[in-house]
């Protein structure tokens, strides 16, 4: 009995990585901004959305991890094999566009978080870009994954800074389970934003590819699923503390709109230098982490889908498209941040729109694939799971479309 338990624990630690990393990167610069904004403006009220967000996240992530473990193939591989090159190309083109803007947003996060410490972006962004590039190009998958896992643990910063602000824990507890709906455009926009940023298309591709790369088999899948669920919960715990910190520090003092995530960090300053520092460090870490994963994941996915050689374990000569795509994403993504007058806000809004167009597509293909008898055998979705899956797809699609409309409105206004 004890031996079996020990075996399961050992397997759990062997499979840890993909699910955890994916969920953590989901709290990137954009995510932190959304949660900070929600807490600063509406206090504890939005906390109830975290439980359903976790569920949606778990449902979509679990399907990908399962497909990866059972078929041993990435999502873009499967889409290519089952739906042909043109579909794959279309999806990949959208993915590159939306991920490029995401990379920009995260380099912007690197720049602004370090500017809080008075370091110029003309120093930090090139250094971060070079660091990211070297880490991935010079490392092997196992080593890169270890660095990523360490980066994941830095998110604890948010928990500590959340506690230091001394928020109203009773209110936080109550509003975590009590849904509050207000028919106010600002509040609805915020809800849509919170759910809309929680599930992104790149996550599905990255998670499945990472599960395959790690060589997790259908047999070890039980532990892998647990890892995915634990990762998703950890992600919402972080989100919870970000909201609570901003609610305690900004909303409880004077509710207001914040302009970006660094604004939130500054709001924490009156509650102690450390709360501010940790929040800023957390933002820097999250931005850098996402700026690492997004180009890597994009290059992987595109090369897999279109049939080019890929992988950090291959050399530049063996996998030229992979390295070029990866490098360009970093160079362009970091470069535009240094251009004075670059319309970054517009680009991020545009990214939301492309994201919203791509996500439903990816989710629908995913559910179609996971129900293929030939691919999944006894690991297909059960009927119950399909109902939950399709419902999630409909909800996510509805909310993302709403977000697209809102972004388009802002884009027209901006």
């Amino acid at each position: 009995m004890l031996r079996r338990l020990r075996h399961h624990v050992a397997v759990f630690f062997a499979v840890i990585g993909p699910g955890f990393i994916t969920a953590m990167v989901d709290n990137d610069a954009g995510g932190i901004f959304t949660y900070s904004q929600a807490g600063a403006k509406y206090g504890y009220l939005p906390l109830w959305t975290l439980a359903p967000i976790t569920l949606l996240l778990v449902v979509t992530q679990e399907m990908c991890a399962r497909m990866g473990a059972v078929t041993g193939k990435g999502l873009s591989d499967l889409i290519r094999e089952e739906f042909g090159l043109r579909t794959t190309f279309f999806i990949m083109a959208l993915l590159v566009m939306t991920n490029l803007t995401n990379v920009m947003a995260n380099f912007a996060g690197v720049a602004s978080s370090l500017e809080l410490f008075g370091i110029s972006r003309y120093l930090t962004v090139p250094a971060a870009a070079a660091g990211v590039w070297l880490l991935v190009v010079r490392g092997t998958y196992a080593r890169v994954e270890k660095v990523f896992l360490i980066a994941s643990s830095v998110y604890i910063c948010y928990i500590i800074s959340g506690v230091m602000v001394k928020p109203d824990w009773t209110q936080a507890a109550i509003y975590s389970v009590r849904p509050v709906l207000m028919l106010e455009p600002g509040y609805l926009t915020m809800l849509v934003g919170m759910v809309g940023t929680s599930v992104a298309p790149w996550m599905q591709f990255y998670l499945q590819a990472a599960v395959v790369e790690k060589g997790i088999s259908a047999k070890e899948y039980a532990e892998s699923r647990l890892e995915v669920i634990v990762g998703c919960i950890a992600m919402t715990v972080i989100a919870f503390f970000i909201i609570v910190a901003c609610a305690g520090a900004i909303h409880d003092v004077a509710p207001r709109d914040i302009q970006d995530a660094t604004d939130a960090a500054l709001g924490l300053r009156p509650f102690g230098q450390y709360a501010f520092l940790l929040f800023a460090i957390g933002l820097f870490n999250a931005s850098l982490f996402a700026a690492c994963i997004l180009p890597l994941s994009t290059a992987y996915t595109v090369c897999e889908g279109l049939g080019f050689e890929s992988g950090v374990n291959k050399g530049l000569r063996e996998a030229p498209v992979f390295y070029w795509l990866f490098t360009l994403l970093i160079v362009i993504g970091g470069g535009v941040i240094l251009l004075p007058g670059f319309p970054l806000v517009k680009m991020i809004l545009l990214s939301q729109v492309i994201n919203g167009a791509l996500l439903p597509l990816v989710l629908i293909y995913m559910i179609l694939l996971v129900n293929k008898d030939r691919l999944m055998k006894k690991w297909q979705n059960t009927r119950f799971y399909n109902v939950v899956g399709w419902t999630s797809v409909v909800i996510l699609t509805g909310l993302t479309v709403a977000l697209v409309i809102l972004s388009l409105r802002d884009l027209a206004g901006a």
């Binding site: 078929t71 041993g72 290519r80 042909g84 090159l85 043109r86 088999s217 047999k219 049939g307």
Partner: protein, 417 residues
């Protein structure tokens, strides 16, 4: 152009005209029957009548094939029916992974190139190449949207990237279907085991297991030895115990023991049960030792002769162990109690008279470097480094020669650090 060619992307959607030049339908797929002809397209699958009725057009019913259409010389078409001997290029090959035996890698098929050949005055298609790379991607993207001749003109700027059809190996996990489609494992078996291992590791678990199951046991064992321990364990686990045992018997006992050590105990027992007694005993003995000790690193396959044997006896002993000929570099001399007396570089045998006793080959300055089964691996590494060893004999608790550690074992240990 030396020979008129046609791409699969061009063939698809091509109009088929009947004897009175009226369009009958459009091509949807091309069928190869490898048992009849290895490269000739045997039939076309044509969708006519608004796309609902699928028909077969046999190659001998076609008079001419051009970029503008296919003209028939016989209209007696049969409706589509499933055929287990048929390889449908769009369904079974396009967008799937195949193995490039020459380039030794796994590639994804983006397009297929046919040559238009003349057979008894009629046009037939022969599969020439599988296309990968950007040029084929362009054709796929424009297929059906841009006229065929324009696509040809557009693509010339992009360098082609193709693999000759004879060098392509289709990955088919079902052994029965492999037989019906005449897919052999020969090209894979002729590859270097290390290359084969790299390819197999890139495939999905299902395809990976199918290949190991299908290829020659000896090749499978060699390829498996080149993979990392986790992958080895996964593949062995997926095979039935009998097949797994056959493969492990072909592997060096120390490697086989390493694989088994990765598996769950039950599976290990099952496989051991299926193994023949001699290799089984060796593997079982090795399994007793901790992985990080000399016992876990050592191999029980070595060449030893009694101290009273002659050089001719020693050479005979070598002849009896053909499996060792390629790797062995030292011959051990033992006494009646299996205790080690000397270790002699094998080359010395050939410089001596066949009738002289092996003990005469020992030189006074020969020092026996040896170790025991419970020595930690790190100490073993030190010994190899310090004395520049190729082979290190390992003694059991009773000071009998139990096995040897060779330099390749040490390289594997160093690489895994």
């Amino acid at each position: 152009m030396a020979e008129p060619i046609l791409y699969l992307t061009e063939l698809l959607g091509l109009k088929v005209y009947d004897l009175r030049k009226r369009p009958l339908g459009r091509v949807r797929d091309a069928v190869l029957v490898p048992r009849l002809h290895p490269v000739r397209v045997d039939r076309f699958l044509v969708a006519g009548g608004g796309g609902y009725a699928w028909l077969y057009v046999r190659h001998d019913q076609v008079a001419g094939i051009t970029l503008d259409g296919i003209w028939l010389c016989d209209e007696m078409l049969v409706p589509y029916h499933a055929d287990e001997y048929a390889l449908r290029l769009v369904r079974d090959v396009l967008d799937q992974q195949i193995i490039d035996a020459r380039g030794r890698k796994v590639v994804r098929v983006t397009d297929i190139t046919f040559g238009i050949r003349s057979e008894d005055g009629r046009d037939v298609l022969h599969v020439l190449e599988v296309d990968i790379g950007m040029r084929a991607v362009l054709r796929r993207l424009l297929q059906g949207w841009v006229p065929r001749r324009w696509v040809r003109r557009l693509q010339v700027r992009i360098p082609p990237n193709s693999i000759r059809w004879e060098l392509c190996n289709i990955v088919e996990p079902d052994p029965q279907r492999r037989l019906r489609l005449n897919i052999t494992m020969e090209p894979l078996e002729q590859m270097h085991p290390a290359d084969l291992a790299d390819i197999v590791e890139e495939l999905s678990p299902e395809d990976r297991e199918a290949i190991i199951e299908a290829i020659d046991t000896e090749v499978a064992a060699e390829a498996l030895s080149e993979m990392d321990p986790e992958t080895q364990a996964r593949i062995i686990e997926s095979l039935d115990a009998g097949k797994a045992a056959d493969i492990l018997e072909e592997m060096a006992p120390d490697e086989a023991a390493d694989v088994l050590a990765e598996l769950e105990e039950e599976t290990t027992e099952e496989i051991l049960e299926e193994m023949e007694s001699a290799p089984k005993a060796e593997v079982e003995e090795l399994l007793e030792y901790d992985e990080d000790t000399a016992g876990g690193l050592m191999n029980t396959e070595f060449l030893a002769v009694h101290e009273e044997a002659t050089v001719a006896d020693a050479i005979d002993a070598l002849r009896m162990r053909k499996d060792l000929v390629d790797t062995v570099n030292t011959i051990f001399v033992t006494d009646t109690d299996d205790r080690l007396r000397a270790a002699i570089p094998i080359a010395r045998l050939f410089l001596a008279k066949p009738s002289s006793p092996v003990s005469e080959l020992v030189r006074p300055d020969d020092e026996i470097i040896q170790t025991s089964t419970d020595t930690p691996a790190s100490r073993v590494l030190e010994l190899f480094d310090k004395y520049n060893l190729l082979t290190l004999p390992v003694m059991d608790d009773e000071q009998r020669l139990a096995g040897v550690i060779t330099a390749d074992d040490i390289i594997a240990v160093l690489r895994n650090r």
